[in-house]
């Protein structure tokens, strides 16, 4: 009994050793989901652009867009970022999206500020109904510290910003816009 048992034990061990890499591989192929905030999504009609960008990134799948929150849910294989620490995954995703969109879109972590603490500021503007101009105006506002989300549409003549009122106010946003030669409508 001793010998067969030993043989059996060795065989099991060998099987386990052989199976380990494929088990690890399986865990690497497990699709992971993540929800992040998306930058550059300044208007509803930017959603097709966003889909097009993710269409050009084979390693990441766009599951859903929540335009009202400027959020996206993404799916990717764990192996894609196997050498990245958990807090680096969003950064890696951001790099992919920026490169694919010539830096017109990006990814950032979800906001930690509760919605009820944010304030919506609406600024009436005049300008050309043009995506490039809207992106420019959006970026002016979105880059101001304290702005969590923003939209821009010269067609509607409106720029909105969801802001942390403890960090930024309307005046600061208007000043930044004027510096970019965005014409602000008189109230």
């Amino acid at each position: 009994m001793g010998l067969p048992w030993k043989i059996m034990k060795s065989a099991v061990l060998a099987m386990v050793c052989l199976a380990l890499p494929s088990l690890a591989e399986t865990s690497q192929n497990v699709p992971l989901k993540i929800t992040c905030q998306v930058t550059g999504l300044f208007a509803e009609d930017r959603q097709p652009d966003l889909r097009k960008v993710f269409g050009s990134i084979p390693s990441v799948k766009l599951i859903a867009i929540q335009y009202s929150k400027a959020e996206v849910t993404l799916e990717y294989a764990a192996k894609e970022f196997s050498n990245a620490k958990p807090d680096q995954v969003v950064k890696r995703l951001d790099d992919l999206v920026r490169n694919a969109s010539r830096h017109a879109l990006g990814i950032k972590p979800l906001s930690l500020t509760p919605r009820e603490k944010l304030k919506l500021i609406e600024i009436q503007v005049e300008g050309l109904d043009c995506k490039g101009c809207a992106l420019a105006a959006y970026e002016v506002v979105a880059r101001v510290e304290g702005v969590e989300r923003a939209t821009a549409s010269f067609k509607k003549g409106l720029i909105t910003a969801l802001v942390d009122p403890s960090k930024v106010d309307r005046g600061q946003l208007e000043k930044a816009l004027k510096a970019r030669e965005v014409h602000i409508k008189a109230p």
Binding site: L128, K131, C133, L135
Partner: protein, 870 residues
């Protein structure tokens, strides 16, 4: 303007000749009787004492030649003095002629008439290009400028050589070999890149934001990029990132290039030198505050070759015009051409036919603007194309030896050949180099045998003649030394090739003394018409000993002139004879000549070249230098000259309406611009040009103590009135009586070659009508005093305008003799000597007897001893 009358000085010191040359019983009496009173050691009229001049001294000899000319022309003794009898004058001329001939022959004894001379910069570049089949390789810009003698830079007297030249030749040879030698197993991959005029980081994208242009889709404003109006577009970078300029739409421009606006297709920056196919699609339109309407006519856009300097940013990089292209109204015109491109070169664009500094778009920008625009759909660049690999340049050096990867382990003790990493040097360029394949080089199993074989092929080609075995051994020995020193086969051969390209055999025109041999004759022909080395057919004829046969020379001359490379001759010859190289030496005053533009200037040069080409092709006579029934025009020039019904940017032959004075060199805008200072015209400058360049009678230089006449652009006084002060001075009048008449006739043309009956003024004057000036060009000049183009010929008779002047001048035999002289000086690279005068006269007479024109004259020149002896 005062002008010392040198003629007096020359003529009145003849007795000195008695002491210098074989005396003639009659001549001393003549000179004592007619010349001494003004030009002896005491009087020295005009500052010159002829009694001290020695005929065998080079400078004095030239003065005696002038004395002879004045005497022969009957200008001396002056009319106010006692005149010699006809017999006396003839005897004196005969004596002086013989004396001069004797002195010249003595001086030349043992010396060739054409001195040893190196290649000019242009000849060097063309020779290298043709030797290696590298059509657009740039070299001459790096070499020191050539001098000039007797009007041309290929003259032996001007072609000295210094250590700077030598250092530059070594650098240039290295650059050539770098470009010629294949360093990869396969040619660089052919890429095709389509670029919008509004490419990233370019100037156009910027001005589109401000409404100096629009983006058009299906010949309407692109809804994704609405035209700038009261609000302009903001943030060029945001538009670039979101793809506003990259969606396949066309770009319509309203703005001509200027100091702060340089449209470039900068997304393609050449990495690999070679031939590229360039395509573009252009059309024009009338923009009306947001609407695209039919254009006013065919507009013209210019493409240029721009060499990026430094980090490539900004504008104003050196450029050369490639061509002007038509942009018809609302109809895309596809243009395609092949162009050699060098590393760091890009294609530049200009909406050339639009008004320069034209009407601004105003506060409402494009949406408030009505005016012409030029649309560019795209530019496509494809290449580099290599008909074979390794390329011909490589095969000239290494024949069919195989290329193989150089592995150190396989070549112990051998240094690998040096390689530079190929990279995209300009950040804006989106094209990228191929992956480096490693070190690839030629492989030779029998290095010395191969080296001998390769050198025996290369050296005769490079030296343009058979090369002795001894010379070949000399180079072979160098290769052997380098191989022993551990060089690779490529490096060792390169050493020999570089030495050959820096040797006198390559850098100099090697011609035997006396009668040229067949190879020297082949070189003379090819450097005359192609500014480069002879091709294979010419060398084969030389080898077969057939080139010195009359019929062969004739057919070869015609073949060379027919070849596209003869444009080098047209460009080089006219650039110097008619000073076309100086076309951009002055910038016309913007207030006085607001209609002037680079497009007009380039058209001027093209007209002169095309006219000369037409003279060559049609065999026209010398009278066509000053009078013609046709002109070579494009729309720009036709409008400038007031000639109707010429459309488009291409120069073509146009039959002139009756009474038109346009057409010949004399009335071409290029000549008028070259002979003006940008603000006003001077009959003296223009008269001197006509005398010197067209009639071959250069006036004496002005005295140093007489200031130039300052132009009066306020319009108070005409140049003629100012000149009268000089002309009324007897000491000045002698020269001005000859110089001024042609200059007066040419007063009918302004600084930029436009016809005028009144001078333009920026001070007082009457309001100026717009005439043919583009309505988008602002006019602020006024019309000042009337132009008086009348004058009196020195030889007698008068003219009331340019037309009458042309008629009289067209009869002048001096046109023929000067044309023959200019061609002879250029072709033989030496001045026409006094002893050559009879031969020159025969050339012209034979040409005229045959009823031929300039083509016949060239044939006669080439068949003459002048051309076929050194």
């Amino acid at each position: 303007m005062t002008q010392p009358n040198l003629i007096f000085l020359f003529v009145f010191s003849f007795p000195l000749l008695l002491a210098q040359v074989a005396p003639c019983a009659e001549s001393p009496v003549f000179f004592e009787k007619h010349c001494y009173s003004c030009h002896d050691g005491q009087n020295r009229k005009g500052g010159l004492d002829l009694t001290t001049l020695k005929i065998e001294a080079p400078l004095d000899f030239e003065r005696w030649v002038k004395v002879f000319d004045r005497l022969e022309a009957g200008e001396m003794p002056p009319k106010a003095k006692k005149q010699p009898s006809a017999n006396e004058a003839a005897e004196a001329q005969k004596w002086l002629r013989q004396s001069l001939l004797k002195a010249e022959l003595q001086k030349r004894k043992g010396e060739s008439r054409t001195g040893l001379r190196r290649l000019t910069r242009a000849e060097y570049e063309n020779t290298m290009r043709d030797l290696f089949h590298l059509d657009g390789m740039p070299l001459q810009g790096e070499l020191p400028a050539d001098g000039s003698a007797h009007g041309f830079d290929n003259n032996a007297d001007a072609l000295d050589i210094s250590h700077v030249n030598l250092a530059k030749y070594i650098e240039a040879a290295d650059r050539v070999l770098d470009m010629a030698i294949a360093t990869r197993p396969n040619p660089p991959s052919i890429t095709k890149q389509r670029i919008s005029l509004a490419n990233s980081a370019g100037f156009v994208a910027h001005v589109l934001l401000h409404g100096d242009g629009v983006i058009l889709k299906d010949k309407k404003p692109d809804p994704e990029f609405p035209p700038a109006g009261a609000q302009m577009h903001i943030d060029q970078g945001a538009h670039e990132r979101i793809g506003s300029f990259n969606n396949g739409s066309s770009v319509g421009l309203f703005r001509h290039e200027d100091e702060s606006f340089h449209p470039y297709f900068i997304e393609f920056v050449t990495i690999y030198p070679g031939k590229y196919r360039v395509k573009t699609s252009l059309w024009s339109f009338q923009w009306d505050k947001g609407q695209v309407l039919p254009a006013r006519g065919t507009e013209a856009a210019r493409l240029s070759l721009v060499t990026l300097t430094g980090d490539g940013r900004g504008g104003g990089h050196p450029s050369t015009v490639l061509a002007y292209f038509d942009a018809p109204s609302l109809q895309e015109k596809k243009h395609e051409f092949t162009q050699w491109l060098n590393p760091r070169e890009i294609i530049g664009f200009n909406a050339a036919s639009l008004a320069q500094g034209g009407q601004t778009r105003g506060k409402k920008r494009a949406m408030g603007f009505t005016g012409p625009g030029i649309a560019c759909d795209h530019l496509e660049i494809e290449g580099p194309f290599h008909a074979e690999w390794p390329p011909r340049s490589h095969k000239e050096l290494f024949g069919d030896l195989p290329l193989a990867e150089f592995k150190l382990a396989e070549h112990p003790g051998v240094r690998p050949p040096k390689r530079k990493l190929t990279r995209q040097e300009m950040g804006a360029g989106k094209n990228r180099p191929d992956v480096e394949p490693g070190i690839w080089t030629v492989r030779s199993q029998e290095p010395l045998a191969d080296a001998g074989r390769l050198l025996s092929h290369f050296l005769p080609r490079a030296f343009r003649r058979p090369v002795s075995t001894e010379t070949q051994k000399h180079y072979l020995k160098r290769v052997e030394e380098r191989l022993k020193a551990g060089d690779s086969f490529e490096a060792a051969m390169r050493w020999a090739y570089r030495a050959a390209l820096c040797s006198a055999d390559f850098l100099y025109h090697v011609e035997p003394a006396g009668k040229l041999d067949a190879y020297a004759m082949a070189c003379r022909l090819s450097y005359f018409f192609w500014k480069s080395m002879p091709d294979e057919p010419l060398l084969s004829l030389a080898k077969a000993g057939k080139l010195n046969q009359g019929e062969t020379l004739r057919s070869e001359t015609d073949r060379l002139l027919k070849d596209g490379k003869s444009e080098r001759f047209v460009e080089d010859f006219l650039g110097q004879w008619l000073k076309l190289r100086q076309i951009a030496a002055t910038d016309p005053d913007r207030k006085l000549y607001p209609e002037f533009s680079p497009y007009l200037q380039d058209s001027m040069v093209k007209e002169t070249r095309a006219y000369f080409r037409e003279m060559l092709d049609k065999g026209l006579g010398a009278s066509f230098l000053v009078q013609s029934d046709f002109a070579m025009l494009n729309e720009k020039l036709a409008v400038h000259y007031g000639i109707p019904a010429v459309s488009g940017s291409q120069i073509r032959r146009v039959t002139l309406p009756s009474g038109s004075v346009r057409g010949p060199f004399l009335t071409q805008a290029a000549i008028h611009k070259i002979t003006a200072n940008g603000t006003t015209t001077s009959p003296v400058t223009r008269g001197a040009f006509v005398l010197d360049r067209l009639l071959g009678q250069p006036p004496e230089p002005p005295p140093a103590d007489v200031p130039a006449i300052e132009p009066d652009v306020r319009g108070a006084k005409t140049i003629r009135e100012q000149l009268d002060k000089h002309r009324n001075n007897p000491s000045c009048a002698n020269c001005h009586v000859k110089i001024d008449p042609p200059g007066f006739a040419l007063e009918a043309f302004d600084v930029i070659g436009g016809s005028r009956t009144r001078y333009r003024s920026i001070g007082t004057g009457d309001p100026a009508p717009r005439g043919n000036i583009d309505p988008f060009i602002g006019i602020s000049f006024k019309l000042g005093p009337p132009v008086d183009p009348a004058g009196e010929f020195f030889e007698g008779g008068s003219f009331k305008d340019i037309s009458e002047f042309q008629k009289r001048m067209a009869q002048s035999p001096k046109l023929w003799s000067n044309l023959a002289r200019q061609l002879a000086v250029y072709a033989t690279a030496r001045e026409v000597a006094f002893a050559d005068r009879d031969a020159m006269t025969r050339l012209v007479e034979t040409t005229q007897k045959k009823g031929g024109g300039i083509r016949t004259l060239i044939h006669e020149l080439i068949q003459s001893e002048l051309f076929s002896t050194r």
